[in-house]
């Protein structure tokens, strides 16, 4: 308990530098207007790009669709698994880990060749919701699993039943409110994953926010830096949201 190892501080310092120095350089570069002048030119021309808003909207729509899939498909499936089929846990764990172990690029290369489907699905970017759901699965699964384990779902359900409540009432009145922070956390994480996903969108030729960042980066360095800065801010905001939902609940006890 006495000394914090030198190696520890060193690693911590290096990690900090790795994140902070590029961030500061990015921010200052985004403000550089050439010849020693600094200002918001890059931000202005970035915001003037006609494809900024559409690509942002596509990404946000995809993010929301993925969140919906997480809450409507994954959460109920996990609740039922915990209650009635705990033996299936390894199967769930395996499926939740797959998207991370199978390289996305291998998946997309295979899929892009093979996936066929009705035009109303394949013709729109919403088709991406399916792979994105599975990309977000590891994070969303982990967040919801931690939430479920924290509340001893089986005992709560049995307590509710012995008090005369139906399974529907128990899920509505007890389980979902108790899992609220975990669900919000899993949605924020999924949203962040979708906002940053580049591989699928790029290979499948959809023009999402991440693809735009790359495009801008190829031909307008300062705008790319501005976009990176904005992107940092947005995702850090989401991250803070996750942390605060977690903490607020632990301290105020709204639903924990």
């Amino acid at each position: 308990m006495r000394r914090f190892g030198l190696a520890g501080w060193t690693v911590l310092g290096l990690a900090g530098l790795y994140f902070i120095v590029p961030l500061l350089m990015t921010v200052s570069f985004s403000l550089w207007q050439g010849h020693g002048n600094y200002g918001f030119d890059a931000y202005r021309s970035l915001l003037a790009r006609p494809n900024l808003l559409p690509s942002l909207i596509v990404s946000i729509e995809l993010g929301l669709a993925t969140c919906a899939a997480i809450v409507l498909l994954l959460a109920p499936a996990m609740i039922f698994m915990h209650l009635y089929a705990p033996k299936l846990r390894p199967v769930f764990e395996f499926i939740a880990a797959l998207p991370f172990v199978v390289p996305a690029i291998a998946l997309v290369a295979g899929l892009s060749v093979l996936f066929t489907g009705p035009d109303w699905l394949i013709g729109t970017p919403f088709y991406l919701t399916i792979p994105y759901f599975f990309l977000a699965l590891p994070y969303a699964y982990r967040a919801i699993d931690v939430g479920i384990r924290a509340i001893d779902l089986t005992t709560l359900t049995e307590a509710g039943q012995s008090l005369g409540a139906s399974l529907g009432q128990i899920i509505r009145m007890v389980v979902l409110p108790s899992l609220r922070p975990a669900l919000i956390g899993s949605m924020l994480l999924s949203f962040a994953v979708v906002m940053g996903e580049f591989t699928f969108a790029n290979v499948l030729l959809f023009h999402t926010f991440a693809v735009l960042i790359n495009e801008v980066g190829q031909n307008a360095p300062t705008e790319a830096a501005a976009l990176s800065t904005l992107s940092f801010l947005i995702t850090w905001g989401a991250m803070l949201g996750v942390l605060m939902v977690g903490r607020g609940n632990a301290q105020l006890g709204g639903a924990r």
């Binding site: 001893d152 039943q161 012995s162 005369g164 139906s166």
Partner: protein, 361 residues
């Protein structure tokens, strides 16, 4: 407020018998403890009564009504769990009024009833606290109030005290007894703690290997255990193996020890003589061993406050024979480890059980 009758209840999991055709009758307002080592089937029996487990055979009647096919929600039973089972998103008051609420009572009724029950368990001033703001003992009190709020026919307590500190456990034990007396709810309490079972129950049901070995009042269980398992499981007992001879028992070294006249009809059989430590008296060895007494060495003396408990080694008897003796701590100085003593007792004190009788008689 209702009788409970379990008839021929059995349950197996993957060929392993957990309950073997078991019968249990409970009177109105009775408190029965299901007591036994882990794996004896006591929790399975409780969960069958609650409706969380369907028995393979047999029926459960409550107040004369067959509830075997009813789901838990329709059984009118309150249950308190070992793990903290309060709804984490609700205050103490909201937890307690959950039952009346899903039953569709008017809200003012719900709140009034919940307030009364929080009063009963002594937590009126904590009604607006969330579970994580309460201690373990307080949470279990709220769980008790919540279970009572549905005016259950039967109250089921699944090791409600085992997660608590020793001090809180003692308090809450008395509290449960008081509340059960006041509300007169027929109550089943599962426990592996024999002291808890003896102190709280109207009757104790001792279980082992999926069977009921003995169902009787605490004092009968303690004084007249039905078989060797109960005798070993309940309280501390010295064990002297021998052969019944008339109204006495002959040890392997030839010593004849007096026993209850009831032993006479077991004459010639291998028996075990059980002796409670409070019945064994010691004298320092002064040369000879009087008839009816045993020679022993003091192995260890443990100070227990008012009493000192002495463990004896019996050099002339087989290894699994042993005795304990309790004495007032004032006299313990005479019986330090290593001291040679003679042990004797009143002839009505030993409880003699035939070795073959592994079953409840």
């Amino acid at each position: 407020m209702a009788t409970v009758e379990a008839r021929g209840v059995s349950k197996s999991y993957q060929g392993r018998t957990v309950l073997a055709s078991l019968d249990l009758d409970m009177g109105e307002a009775e408190l029965i403890c299901l007591l036994g080592p882990s794996g004896c089937g006591k929790t399975t029996l409780l969960r069958i009564i609650a409706g969380f487990i369907t028995p393979d055979t047999g029926t459960v009647h409550v107040g004369g009504r067959d509830v075997t096919a009813l789901p838990p929600a329709a059984r009118k039973m309150g249950m308190v769990f070992q793990a903290y089972s309060l709804f984490p998103n609700m205050t103490a008051l909201d937890n307690v009024r959950f039952g009346p609420r899903v039953a569709g009572q008017a809200k003012t009724e719900q709140v009034k009833r919940a307030g009364e029950l929080l009063d009963l368990v002594g937590l009126a001033q904590h009604r607006d606290k969330y579970p994580h703001q309460m201690s373990g003992g307080q949470q279990q009190r709220v769980a008790l109030a919540r279970a009572l709020a549905v005016r259950p026919d039967v109250l089921l307590l699944d090791e409600p005290l085992s997660a608590l500190d020793a001090k809180v456990r003692l308090q809450l034990r008395e509290e449960i007894r008081r509340i059960q007396r006041e509300t007169k709810v027929t109550t089943v309490l599962v426990t592996h703690d024999q002291e808890e079972a003896l102190s709280i129950s109207d009757r104790v049901a001792v279980m082992n290997g999926g069977k009921l070995l003995q169902v009787a009042t605490p004092s009968v269980i303690y004084r007249q255990p039905a078989d060797a398992f109960v005798a070993r499981f309940i309280g501390l007992a010295g064990i002297l193996p021998g052969v019944a001879e008339g109204a006495a028992v002959r040890m392997s070294n030839g010593t004849i020890l007096p026993a209850d006249a009831a032993v006479a009809h077991q004459s010639g059989r291998s028996v075990e003589m059980f002796l409670r430590p409070e019945h064994v008296r010691l004298q320092r060895m002064n040369g000879h061993v009087p008839p009816g007494a045993l020679a022993a060495d003091v192995q260890e003396a443990t100070f227990l406050g008012s009493l000192t408990r002495v463990r004896l080694r019996l050099p002339e008897l087989p290894d699994h024979a042993g005795l304990w003796a309790d004495m007032p701590s004032e006299h313990a100085a005479d019986f330090a480890p290593g001291q040679r003593v003679t042990a004797h007792w009143h002839e009505t004190s030993p409880h003699v059980i035939a070795v073959e009788a592994a079953q409840a008689s």
